[in-house]
């Protein structure tokens, strides 16, 4: 296309609103945050001067007050990740597989039902679970007491391990629909002729899942895992509102710790350093997840199961393929990987 310099810059006008917004609300805050983290910066009175890396040193030196806040809340957040990520992935995959095998007419209905709770806010979720699992007058306790299963109320939100249990259940109920939907869409994309070929070969349901479904939904599984870990890292509303970080700070998350440092201790500088450390840790973990899944992909090909895969592949090639559909489906999958 022939374009004069003038029309080139005329087109640039279209990106100006985005660039201005990005600059003012993203890039400048990012750089300003780094700058603040290098200063003795109080929320109330502002900048007290450059102190280099002292905020970071304070946070990382054992037994300072900021070290305790950061390490405790980091440990709690990692605990939440360990507790919440496996069920958030496995149960969502289970739900997606279930939906996939339901009669066509019912699929949309159940998909909507399982996804419905994703549309409400964390404060609504917390309000509901706070009173479902309330210690005195909570609905679950009322039921358990009436049924004679317990004689005195369980302090669900104030004792461990119940406190984590409630937060994890609330989180699963709230967010699992999103993961499920990603899996449902990925399962829809799997080429049906692969299954037909495997059926002709007499493959068992487990083998079909292991050797066709899993490899085909591999990319989306990695995506689900990474986004779920990131989401769990950002734990805030549930533990603030349901357990108030308790009992004894055991559910106080990283964001809660940073919030306390900024607003409770008036230390915007230390808080900004904590936020940046948290961001770096999150990006590192994401990077490691990418790296491991890339590596395991290579290892996968060297395993003895290779024979089985080859056999299936042969079966697929020999099987009844829909000529019009098959190449298109392959191209589609390639595009998915690139974008």
């Amino acid at each position: 296309m022939h374009m004069t310099n003038k029309s080139k810059w005329l087109g640039f006008i279209f990106v100006v609103p985005f660039l201005v917004s990005f600059l003012v609300f993203w890039l400048i805050p990012l750089l300003y945050g780094i700058w603040i983290s290098l200063h003795d910066f109080r929320l109330s009175v502002g900048n007290n001067g450059f102190i280099g890396l002292k905020n970071y040193v304070d946070i990382l030196t054992p037994d300072t007050i900021y070290n305790r806040t950061f390490m405790t809340s980091l440990k709690n957040t990692l605990m939440f990740i360990v507790l919440s990520v496996p069920p958030l992935i496995l149960i969502s995959l289970g739900l997606a597989l279930l939906i996939e095998h339901l009669p066509k007419k019912l699929k949309t209905f159940f998909r909507t039902v399982f996804f419905l709770s994703y549309s409400i806010s964390v404060t609504a979720v917390s309000a509901i679970y706070l009173w479902l699992f309330g210690a005195n007058g909570g609905y679950i306790n009322n039921i358990l007491m009436k049924a004679g299963l317990i004689s005195s109320p369980i302090n669900w939100t104030g004792d461990q391990p119940y406190a984590w249990l409630v937060i994890v259940i609330a989180t699963i109920w709230w967010t699992i629909g999103f993961n499920m939907l990603l899996f449902v869409n990925a399962l829809d994309e799997v080429d049906g002729t692969l299954y037909e070929a495997a059926d002709l070969d007499g493959a068992s349901a487990w083998n079909k899942f292991r050797f066709i479904t899993l490899p085909e939904i591999r990319n989306i599984s990695i995506f689900v895992m990474i986004t779920t870990v990131i989401a769990s890292f950002n734990l805030y509303g549930q533990s603030l509102l349901i357990t108030r970080g308790g009992p004894e700070q055991s559910t106080s998350s990283l964001i809660m710790g940073i919030n306390t440092t900024v607003f409770g201790n008036n230390q915007l500088g230390v808080g900004s350093a904590m936020a940046l450390l948290m961001g770096v840790i999150m990006m590192l973990i994401t990077g490691i997840q990418y790296w491991i899944s890339y590596k395991s992909d290579k290892d996968e090909l060297a395993k003895p199961s290779r024979k089985e895969r080859k056999r299936l592949k042969r079966a697929v090639n020999a099987g009844p393929t829909n000529v019009n559909q098959h190449p298109a489906a392959t191209i589609d999958k390639k595009e998915r990987k690139i974008t």
Binding site: F18, T123, I258
Partner: protein, 276 residues
């Protein structure tokens, strides 16, 4: 054949049990909001023995300690303007990046992708402090404007346009249409699905946002519904499940309606954002 039918019957039964479990907290929320205070605290039955509208009346009464009406108005203003703003900013940028020969194109595209990978927490507190320094806390500005800095929308629409044939636009140019005419009369109609998706995702994201509004809002009059419910959870409704569920129903129903209405767009949007 018969075996197949039995199998699918079992699967439907399992799905139905799970559906009941998933819907239970929402159903419980609705029924509890119609219970009296004493019943809501003691009852083990789902349905109210004695139906009452008292909880709803108390939320909206003049002497209520919550500003439910004002919160609803705030939420409407913030989500509607915010969503329109995001769509406007993102569509223009994505169009220029996908179709026009503009300067710094590669740099801007790089920014869009890199920004997606940076956790939001790193910009949150400095952005808050900038609004504080500009004396804009407790106004609508911080509740609306920062959402337009997100790059996901640009990314989605850019990808959509890239896979969309150029012929129509070229024909329009040959007919003497201006860039603006092409944008409004050719591009807009064709990207409607992805824009609707972005609109719904953005609407719900702003509607349900909690952490950011809690930083930039001080007074009760400026709160959104999501933030207001949090105040009630931490404050006056802490001892009254029936009243709390009534407030939660009021705060949740608009989001649920939008979600059900736009369900299919949401489903598509998740697919699009999932392809990375």
């Amino acid at each position: 054949m018969r075996q197949k039918r039995i199998k699918s019957g079992i699967l439907v039964a399992v799905a139905s049990v799970l559906a009941v479990l998933f819907l239970f907290p929402l159903v419980w929320m609705v029924f509890t909001s119609f219970k009296t205070l004493s019943e809501s605290l003691a009852s083990a039955s789902l349905f109210p023995r004695q139906w009452t509208l008292e909880n709803y009346a108390s939320i909206f009464s003049a002497s209520a300690d919550s500003n439910m009406v004002q919160w609803t108005i705030n939420t409407a203003i913030v989500t509607l303007i915010g969503t329109v703003l995001v769509i406007f900013v993102d569509v223009l940028a994505a169009y220029a990046l996908a179709r026009l020969n503009i300067p710094f194109k590669k740099v801007i595209l790089g920014i869009v992708v890199v920004a997606l990978t940076v956790p939001g927490i790193v910009t949150l507190f400095p952005a808050f402090y900038l609004f504080k320094s500009a004396d804009l806390l407790d106004t609508y500005a911080p509740l609306i404007l920062p959402y337009s800095a997100g790059t996901l929308g640009v990314f989605l629409i850019y990808n959509f346009l890239r896979s969309f044939p150029k012929e129509l636009e070229e024909a329009a140019y040959l007919d003497g249409a201006s860039q603006w005419q092409v944008l409004t009369q050719v591009i807009f109609p064709s990207i409607k699905p992805v824009v609707t998706t972005l609109g719904v995702v953005t609407f719900l994201a702003i509607y349900n946002d909690f952490l950011w509004p809690s930083l930039v809002t001080n007074s009760d009059e400026m709160k959104t519904l999501t933030l207001g419910v949090a105040t009630l959870v931490q404050g006056s409704n802490f001892v009254n499940p029936a009243a709390m569920m009534a407030s939660t129903v009021v705060a949740t129903v608009p989001a649920l309606i939008i979600f059900l209405w736009a369900n299919k767009y949401f489903v598509k949007g998740v697919t699009n954002s999932g392809i990375k």
